[in-house]
């Protein structure tokens, strides 16, 4: 079984386009909601693409803006201007 990475956001309208973008770009991603939180689990690797978030949001987006609504994550991070990647290497 491949270990899952996860990323969690505040469950609000600001984070919704980011969540939508992740679900669109990662076929195996599953969103789980508890009060106030949406946690997305995905086997092995998960990517947040700036272009997809911008499309969902309808404006320019700096990937570092995810810090505003990010709650937690699990996985090794690799971030540049266009992609934020979470992955386990094992």
């Amino acid at each position: 079984m491949v270990d899952k990475v996860f990323i969690a956001f505040q469950n609000n309208s600001e984070a919704q386009p980011i969540v939508d973008a992740i679900l669109a770009d990662n076929a195996e991603a599953v969103a789980n909601e508890t009060p106030g939180i949406v946690k997305i689990d995905c086997p092995g690797r998960l990517v947040v693409r700036r272009a997809t978030v911008e499309e969902k949001m309808g404006r320019e987006f700096d990937l570092q803006e995810i810090h505003i609504s990010l709650i937690s994550l699990g996985g090794n991070i690799d971030e540049d201007d266009d992609e934020f990647v979470l992955a386990w290497n094992s």
């Binding site: 106030g36 570092q64 690799d78 266009d82």
Partner: protein, 512 residues
């Protein structure tokens, strides 16, 4: 691809975290940075340290100020709209008291600890990361105090958190945790707090518990909790990076890091017993049981992390299987402990309502039904006949985690677990093999621990001769700040305030 002529993220991070420092020439570097070698960690190239978020100071200030604006707008609205009346039940407020008394001082301790660690590392990128975290932690302490100050106007037990933190037996648990970390070297400190505590374990605090605060109508805690947690995800990332950095720099670092992971996993797990108990017992409306949270955040997410580190020769922390064996009982055992020593607590305790007991049966199954439910019902029966149960004899306390020794044997929930350790012909007691291992690794450190019941018996707690005089020394007022919830001023005030409220509108979402 960068959008304009500005530097890309990687380029900007390199410019703002490299070449900021210099090799000292008047004084040897080892004298300028005396703390970053004695632990035995070998660093060949500090420039290999990288923050994967690549957050630079300019971006840090920008996003932190945005977070603060959002947080304080909500806190203003909360205060102006009598937010204290929107919580599910006044019993919930005891979770807030425990947070204020036990967790907020840790934020301040973390501020101090990271300031010290930042000064200690000779690599500039490591210093930048520690500086940001030190500022974050101060922010967390301040925003929590600010948020809770509103509740302090309406509920008891919140008047002297700093005084309590230095004196109260149950707060020596979190206090000693951080003091153990802060009195270690900078690499152990960062491993303990950023990795073992923040990466591996604080998800259990900030995810299910803060979600529970949201579910129980506590807008203040939810707001600062999530605002803080957005910083925590950066801290967690720093924690994982520092561990990988040490492991990649030199193979001799591997056994040192493993020993720290063994120690701090266990210390962190023991500390979280308090959080689990808040989740299971102090949230009138339940989101997730401690057992479920353990299964998600340790058995799934935590073990995934250790699987990832196995390529460096790191194995799962010692005694993790004991922690998993205890997942069905630790919160029930701790609540029973808090309940009976309630005469010296700055919060109230109670027997849960029937529907809460049913929820626990559903979540915890047979062991709850055969063991803990009858125990709780016995307590309830005693209370109903006017003989509310208190244990006024001081308990044995673990020399390492400082938790009263209430845990049971890993394979036998009917037998208490006590381990005897010795150093220089003096005996001490531990709650578990995990804590005994930690003691035996550094006995000279732990024999110095100030254990509250021993302090009281030696006459060093203001001369208190029993639990009631001790509570006075804590500045706790009997039955106002301490003891049973039912019939307490908090309880009676709450009933009176709710009776005054207008009947909810028929179209209200919460018209229950």
């Amino acid at each position: 691809m960068a959008k304009d002529k500005r530097m890309g993220l990687k380029e900007k991070y390199a410019v703002m975290t490299r070449g900021l420092d210099w090799e000292t020439s008047y004084q040897p570097m080892d004298d300028v940075f005396p703390y970053d070698k004695y632990e035995g960690i070998k660093i060949l190239d500090w420039d290999k340290w990288a923050d994967p978020f690549r957050l630079t100071m300019d971006a840090y200030w920008k996003y932190q100020s945005e977070k603060e604006r959002k947080l304080y707008a909500i806190l203003d609205a909360f205060q102006q709209n009598n937010g204290q009346l929107n919580i599910s039940d006044a019993r919930y407020m005891n979770a807030v008291k425990l947070w204020l008394q036990g967790i907020t001082p840790l934020e301040y301790a973390a501020h101090r600890g990271f300031a010290h660690a930042g000064r200690s590392f000779r690599g500039a990128a490591a210093r930048v990361a520690c500086q940001m975290q030190s500022i974050d932690e101060m922010r967390h302490a301040q925003t929590q105090l600010h948020a809770f100050s509103h509740y302090n106007k309406f509920f008891n037990g919140m008047h002297g958190f700093a005084h309590l933190r230095d004196r109260a037996w149950y707060l020596s648990i979190p206090k000693s945790f951080f003091e153990d970390a802060m009195s270690a070297g900078p690499f152990e400190f960062v491993t303990s707090i950023s990795f073992a505590f923040e990466y591996v374990l604080t998800n259990l605090l900030f995810m299910p518990f803060v979600s529970g605060a949201a579910y129980n109508g506590d807008m203040a805690t939810t707001t600062f909790g999530f605002s803080a947690q957005s910083d925590e995800s950066r801290h967690m990332t720093l924690g994982l990076e520092v561990v990988k950095f040490m492991l990649e720099q030199h193979e001799d670092n591997v056994p040192i890091v493993q020993a720290w992971l063994d120690k701090w996993f266990w210390r962190g797990y023991r500390l979280l017993a308090l959080v689990g108990t808040m989740m299971d017992y102090m949230l009138p409306k339940k989101v997730m049981s401690w057992k479920e949270a353990w299964e998600i955040y340790w058995e799934e997410n935590g073990i995934a992390l250790f699987n990832d580190l196995s390529r460096y020769g790191i194995r799962l922390p010692k005694h993790h299987e004991v922690a998993t064996k205890e997942k069905g009982r630790v919160t029930h055992e701790l609540w029973s402990t808090l309940y009976q020593y309630g005469n010296a607590l700055g919060l109230h305790t109670w027997v849960p309502e029937d529907e809460e007991l049913d929820w626990m049966s559903e979540k915890y199954g047979e062991l709850f039904d055969t063991m803990y439910r009858p125990r709780l019902l016995h307590f309830r029966a005693q209370e109903e006949t006017g003989k509310r149960y208190f244990n006024n004899r001081l308990p044995m306390v673990c020399q390492v985690c400082q938790i009263p020794v209430f845990f049971t044997e890993p394979d036998d929930p009917q037998t208490q677990c006590v381990r005897i350790v010795e150093w220089a012909d003096t005996k001490h007691h531990c709650c578990s093999d995990g804590c005994a291992d930690i003691f035996n690794r550094e006995p000279e450190k732990y024999v110095q621990a100030l254990i509250p019941p021993q302090q009281i018996y030696r006459g060093e707690a203001g001369g208190a001769r029993d639990i009631f005089e001790y509570a006075e020394w804590l500045h706790l007022v009997k039955d106002v700040d301490t003891g049973e919830y039912h019939g307490s001023p908090d309880h009676l005030n709450w009933e009176a305030w709710k009776a005054e409220l207008p009947t909810p509108q028929a179209n209200s979402d919460e018209a229950a």
